[in-house]
């Protein structure tokens, strides 16, 4: 086995030397032009053209080297930050500050009038009854006490106490008692399963974010359909209260299978299978992204720091749009690829009706 492997490596060595040298000598003429090579690297050549390009490059040293160089360039890591940014990199303060604010809110907010005591009793009594029925019917055969068997439901929602404090104001008591008590494992899982209407989803997203502004480490799912104004308000509120960029946020188009995820450092990802798999999109922008709106399955607006406004009309390729201000942007509402309203972190709003070519500041 080792001999065979060694033989294979030796043969690799031979290939390396001979192919490298051949690569320097062969030049077939009629080379691929720069744009064809670029389109090949971009993946936008059709099958026939790609086959032609591959056939040529397999014999042409110059084109082979050009394509290889281009691939290496495309895989290049982003340029390092300048020294002053590295030195002043205080990104770690963001979660710390958010955590401190959350704790401050925890202590500052008055205790709600025992939002769940009666509910708790109700759930407990229901559970007791259910367990008794099970025992009577002989289904519950475990020797463990009833309380222990019920325990898994409680720790499944670690945020429950905090949500109990904030939920009444935030949700307008839209949630069921079981949800507030944590009897239903996670609100997020429920939201994903339930084909809820967009406003309902938005209310839940609002509640989730307001209840745990800093503790939501994963993406907040936002329904990006006709109710874009709600998205804007939610984004605006979130960004105004905590301008720190969340680790990653997610928006979904009206066709819920298409989603985008965005976050710090120009991170943009794209999913067409309801978030099961994500494709990283190269935007070539490094600004932190704070909010987004997806009025259709191919159109997505993203905004971020320093007047960053990105737009895609095909789902994948984002272009940066000119914006009159370099202010941090907190929210965006959009109805299509041409019409959008962007809100800055200091509360001003700018409208465009021509796809971002021109912006008009709305009077306060």
């Amino acid at each position: 086995m080792d001999t065979k492997r060694e033989g294979d490596r030796s043969f690799e060595r031979l290939l390396r030397q001979s192919l490298r040298s051949n690569a320097g000598s062969a030049l077939t003429g009629g080379c691929l032009d720069a744009e064809t090579i670029a389109a090949w690297a971009d993946g936008s050549l059709n099958q026939r053209d790609r086959a032609v390009a591959e056939a040529h490059a397999s014999e042409c040293a110059r084109c082979q080297a050009t394509v290889a160089t281009l691939m290496k360039m495309s895989a290049a890591p982003p340029a390092p930050d300048p020294w002053w940014r590295r030195r002043l990199n205080l990104g770690w303060l963001v979660p710390l500050t958010a955590g401190a604010i959350a704790v401050a809110f925890w202590f500052a907010l008055p205790n709600p009038p025992s939002p769940g005591l009666s509910d708790k009793r109700e759930v407990q009594s229901r559970a007791d009854e259910s367990a008794k029925r099970q025992e009577q019917s002989g289904l519950a055969r475990s020797d463990a006490p009833l309380v222990q068997r019920q325990q898994p439901a409680a720790p499944a929602e670690p945020l429950a106490p905090r949500q109990q404090r904030a939920a009444p104001a935030a949700t307008g008591r839209n949630e069921s008692k079981e949800e507030r008590e944590g009897a239903i494992p996670t609100r997020r899982a429920k939201r994903d399963e339930r084909p809820a209407s967009a406003p309902a989803q938005l209310k839940e997203a609002d509640a989730l974010e307001k209840a745990a502004p800093a503790a939501a480490p994963t993406a907040a799912v936002v329904a990006g359909n006709a109710a874009q104004s709600s998205v804007g308000r939610r984004d605006q509120a979130a960004a105004l209260s905590a301008p720190a960029v969340a680790p990653a946020r997610e928006i979904q188009s009206p066709d819920t299978s298409v989603r985008w995820r965005f976050g710090a450092g120009g991170l943009v990802q794209y999913s067409i299978d309801r978030g099961a798999t994500w494709e990283g999109l190269s935007t070539d922008f490094v600004a932190d992204l704070t909010a987004g709106a997806a009025p259709s399955s191919s159109v997505c607006w993203l905004v971020g720091r320093a007047g960053t406004v990105l737009l895609t009309t095909d789902g994948r390729r984002f272009a940066r749009l000119p914006f009159p201000e370099s202010a941090d942007l907190a929210a965006v509402r959009a109805t299509d690829a041409r019409t959008a309203v962007v809100t800055t972190a200091d509360g001003r709003t700018f409208n465009t009706a021509d796809g971002g070519s021109t912006w008009t500041e709305a009077p306060r």
């Binding site: 030397q17 192919l19 086959a51 281009l70 340029a79």
Partner: protein
């Protein structure tokens, strides 16, 4: 060459999608660029209206509009282009030469893009070669890569003479020490060339990208639209096929016995020096590691690419 006819309504729609109005680009200029792009794509063909529309819709229209506006000397477009593209181009140049030497090449691109060469009053801008088939960023990188490769090749031609002399000497001394090695090397070289030429173009390209151009499995995969593991599997299969082909060639074509074939391959794979194809590029030792070792991407010891 007959130019495909593009409907005016379609041109207007593409003009809007390209957001060319922000550069005050006359619609005729974009229409001309679209015609040029379609003519180039469908050279000698007569595409149907649907096919033509599909092609035009697939273009990077916004980039094309910026390129057209820059080519016509629109200051705002040029400013936008420089602001967006210069950092990316410098980053690409730094990949070619981390010491910053390739930035000069990137800077020289701007002159050509701006179109300093006046011929009969017309400004000949490099943007004229951009037809929107790729993104502007990738196109610029491609142009930069092409110029870099051309410069390297030109340098090699100038510097090749001393290397040739240096390379011949050890081969000769090696051959003098073992006359069989020279014969074996020639046989294997011939058999290898035949075997490689018989490969499918895609297999040949995969092999060349990996072994000659120093791409990682992931990079080869991205180029050929294959998964990294698929690239690795194909490479292994191609190596096996090549080896079998060479052995058969040596047995049947050259009339060697089993033992001689084994000796022949053993002597050559141990030291491929006598084949001496390396003198063309002067590539030294310490080339590719095994495929398994390089599947994770580029490490610190990344070597410069071979042109």
């Amino acid at each position: 060459m007959r130019s495909p006819q593009i409907d005016d309504v379609l041109i207007r729609r593409l003009y809007d999608r390209a957001r060319a109005e922000r550069w005050h680009l006359p619609i005729g200029v974009l229409a001309e660029a679209l015609h040029a792009s379609a003519t180039r794509r469908f050279a000698g063909e007569d595409p149907g209206a649907h096919e033509l529309e599909k092609y035009l819709e697939s273009l990077h229209l916004e980039d094309l509009a910026v390129a057209c506006a820059c080519a016509t000397g629109n200051d705002a477009a040029w400013e936008h282009f420089v602001r967006e593209q210069r950092p990316l181009l410098y980053r690409a140049a730094d990949v070619l030469d981390p010491s910053g030497g390739a930035r000069e090449l990137a800077d020289s691109l701007y002159a050509d893009l701006y179109g300093l060469k006046d011929r009969g009053g017309d400004r000949q801008s490099l943007f004229g070669y951009f037809h929107g088939r790729s993104s502007l960023t990738t196109w610029l990188r491609s142009v930069l890569a092409q110029r870099h490769i051309d410069r390297l090749r030109a340098q090699r031609r100038v510097e090749s003479l001393p290397d040739d002399e240096a390379a011949v000497a050890p081969a000769t001394s090696s051959g003098a020490a073992d006359p069989d090695r020279l014969r074996y090397a020639a046989l294997v070289e011939r058999a290898l060339q035949r075997a490689v030429s018989r490969l499918d173009a895609r297999d040949r390209l995969r092999l060349a990208c990996y072994y000659a151009q120093d791409l990682t499995l992931a990079e080869v995969g991205r180029l050929l639209r294959e998964h990294e593991a698929t690239v690795s599997r194909h490479l292994a299969r191609t190596r096996q096929a090549l080896r079998k082909d060479i052995e058969r060639e040596l047995r049947v074509g050259e009339g060697l016995g089993e033992a001689q074939v084994a000796d022949c391959l053993a002597s050559v794979v141990e030291d491929a020096g006598p084949i001496d194809l390396g003198r063309v590029l002067g590539t030294g030792e310490g080339g590719k590691e095994s495929g398994r070792d390089r599947s994770m991407g580029r490490g610190e010891g990344r070597r410069g690419h071979q042109a």
